[in-house]
Amino acid sequence: MTVGIVMLVHTALNRAEQVARHWTAAGCPVVIHVDAHVPRDAHRAFLDRLSDDPMVRFSRRHVCEWGTWGLVAATQDAAGLLLDTFADVTHVYLTSGACLPLRPVDELIGYLRASPRTDFIESATISDVPWTMGGLDEERFTLRFPFSWKRQRPLFDLAVDIQRRLKLRRRAPAGLVPHMGSQWWCLTRQTLSAILQDPERPRYDRYFRSVWIPDESYFQTLVRLYSSNIESRSLTLSKFDFQGKPHIFYDDHLQLLRRSDCFVARKIWPHADRLYDAFLGETGAAARQTEPSPAKIDRIFARAVERRTRGRPGLYMHSRFPNQDWENGVTSGPYSVFQGFSDLFEDFETWLSKATGARVHGHLFGPDRVEFAGGQTLVNGCLSDSVARRDYDPKAFLTSLIWNTRGERQCFQYGPADNQTIAWMMARDTNAQISVISGAWAVPLFRSNRNFADLRAEAARLQRIEHKHLDILRSAHARARIRIWTMAEFVESPMEPLQTLLDEIGSVRNARLAEAPRMVNLEGFGQFLQNLKNQGMHPYLMGDFPVDPVPVNQTSQPRKPYLVR
């Protein structure tokens, strides 16, 4: 027994010749179909070069355009010629000029011998697989395609559209159930000759002539009529990307291909000298009986397609600049925004970084300074603390910071005095954890030593800004994890909300809070608010604050640093 090779060739004729000789050297006859588009001189030279090999034949030439009947006609003629000429051929393997045998031919023959009368052809019913590109799956078989997709795209689309509108459908010939699969198969003589010699063949051919991409469905469908034993997978390793064009193998895929144990790979870059030298130079020293395992290659190509279609979340660069709401993650990782906390607690930043292990910045969007943690002027990725640069593109500033510090959680303070242009972006971002103690901006004012008229004006301004910010945070389009307390609420029981926030940050430390942050002394704050009110400026964002001194920090002991649990 032996395997006969059908080879469809349209470019890189020198590589086709090289591979053809490899097959014949191992005793496999080859029938080559050269695309009718190949120029006459090139074709003639190709024929001449291979004329010394009695195992090579050439079949009648057809025009092979992608997605058209020509490819099937070429295959039919070549396969017919192969079966007629070489009587000892038991299997026919369909390959292209860009296919490369990865394992010694003897191993392939051994493999086929071990499973006699088995047809290796990927063949699945169209309703079950989501393979197809461009939204045409079942319609491939029910519409007609008189125009070329490659050359006459507008006409092609128009024809499809008209047929859809008029609900024109046609039925497959009786007895046929449309199947699809990889174009590259290996069929037994019995099955293939039954397909080629079927008295009904003209009828089937007529039908498939106007099916779209018939080379992926003609044999895959007809084989279901005759084969007694279908192994629905292709022996050729051939992966397709998201546009439906085959992935190409290069020299650096050598080890990957070798370990895949596949018999034939497609498609090889014609200039991949190392691949051709390595695989065509190999002689099967010890014929192995391993099963092909293309899983690793599958994964690599699947990842490549995902990179192209989904990208890396939170990355903005010169070949990925998503429109709003298409970012697939506004930023690359979770981060926390605290508003009012550093006003209400003394040294909140130090406490937070101790409690969580995260990097805690000050007011990153502060009006005069970018307060990086530890007073640094530059952070990861050479992101600088220039206020002008930050305000030039605040969104890029934040997304860069989060991207540059992947793996380390970032926390920063925010407030109504800060640059507000970033507020919407953070509110939309599912990675953001935004916690607001509303009205806490009044505390620094209360503690400052400024003229009351200035304080009043400043309080009015901050309240207006924070009010707008809260509207954003309460909008239906906000996606961040947002928590808002009025200051009065928060001061009443500060530990519970803090514990919740820390749990959510999920620090490496033990989850229970050991040390509470120290709240600033709020004695007289209620009166301060009342004074504002008396001046006609009603501070409402901090909730109902009693005029009397608040209960917390009222005890004679100034602080209670440790909570005993």
């Binding site: 010169h318 070949s319 600049f321 998503p322 298409w326 990725g381 640069r389 030039y392 593109d393 540059n404």
Partner: protein, 336 residues
């Protein structure tokens, strides 16, 4: 984009083409080896002035990538670059003494040469201090990339300009002819770039890196543009409108994905900051032949006299393209 707008862009494209055709008169052919160009060859176009010391490595680098022919415009060099280029077997050389600025920083000259010689070829347009890096460039020649782009029906390929700088003072290590400039200038900024979309032309406008960080910290809007589209399957109807930052027709500028995915892209390593730079900055300042009254060079000159160090502790040291890919400065896209 309305019909009117696209019509105006069409007129603009034609105007740039006419301008390029007119500016051809400023070019004098020195050595014309363009008869050597075969169909399918990859061509490199460049304008240079007094870059002799850089040229040996530059030519070597791109020959190794698989560039088949170089087309140079020499803007009145006086340092021997002219003779050096004329002697190279795969270089065609044109000479001009005309104003670089009035040829829109050389764009008109190269547009003309590309119109004349680039049609149907993959054309790379780079300066002598720019080194093109693309996915898998350590194992696959440039032709592998252009073949893949052809198969994917992609006509233009983006490569952001990445400014490279040495550690220590810029003028500390002298650069010798033939040396890899990245041995000296091997540091870069990995994550301080800002991007804006140019609605009219559809391209991105990228600013950042060490120049924005050090020279333009207070005036970020003046920082130089870093977006570049240096590799294009040229058609004689195309024109570069502003350096290699953008092209017309505007479809060629759409080198980025807008729906969350990543298109394949590369990087232009910009080895501008060598010891030759200080001298160059001074000279360019006198000539005033650079963009917007050489505002860039004025900023450099100011800063360079004080403390010509761009390096900081967060600078990344260049290793290879995979590093740039991981840092998110370029992407493999769906090329695997």
């Amino acid at each position: 984009m309305g019909v009117w707008q696209s019509y105006r862009l069409r007129l603009q494209r034609k105007r740039w083409r006419l301008r390029a055709i007119r500016k051809r008169r400023e070019l004098r052919s020195v050595v014309d080896r363009t008869a050597q160009i075969r169909p399918g060859d990859i061509l490199l176009f460049s304008t240079q002035r007094n870059e002799h010391v850089r040229l040996p490595y530059f030519l070597d680098y791109y020959r190794r990538l698989g560039v088949n022919h170089f087309l140079f415009v020499d803007n009145d060099s006086t340092d021997g670059a002219y003779d050096y280029l004329a002697d190279q077997p795969d270089v065609s050389l044109w000479h001009t003494a005309a104003s670089y600025k009035r040829a829109r920083y050389g764009v008109d000259w190269l547009n003309w040469l590309q119109m004349r010689h680039g049609h149907g070829h993959w054309c790379l347009v780079v300066d002598p201090d720019e080194f093109f890096v693309y996915p898998f460039c350590d194992t696959r020649p440039l032709r592998a990339l252009t073949d893949w782009l052809d198969a994917s029906s992609i006509k233009s390929f983006s490569a952001m300009l990445l400014d490279m700088y040495p550690k220590g003072r810029i003028d500390q290590q002298p650069y010798r002819a033939g040396q890899d400039p990245l041995e000296i200038a091997c540091w870069f900024d990995s994550g301080n770039y800002s991007l804006k979309r140019n609605k009219r032309y559809g391209n991105l406008w990228i600013q950042g890196g060490p120049r924005a960080r050090v020279f333009f910290a207070d005036r970020p809007e003046l920082a130089p543009a870093l977006n570049k589209i240096p590799l294009v399957k040229w058609d004689k109807k195309y024109v570069y409108t502003s350096s290699t930052h953008m092209l017309l027709p505007r479809g060629l500028n759409l080198v980025y994905d807008e729906w969350g995915g990543e298109k394949a892209s590369g990087i232009l390593l910009h080895a501008k900051f060598l010891d030759t730079f200080t001298e160059k900055a001074r000279e360019e300042l006198d000539r005033r032949q650079h963009y917007s009254a050489s505002v860039e060079y004025r900023a450099y000159a100011e800063r360079l006299t004080q403390n010509p160090e761009l390096w900081c502790k967060w600078s990344e040291k260049y290793i290879n393209w995979r590093q740039l890919e991981i840092l998110g400065l370029m992407s493999k896209g769906n090329w695997a």
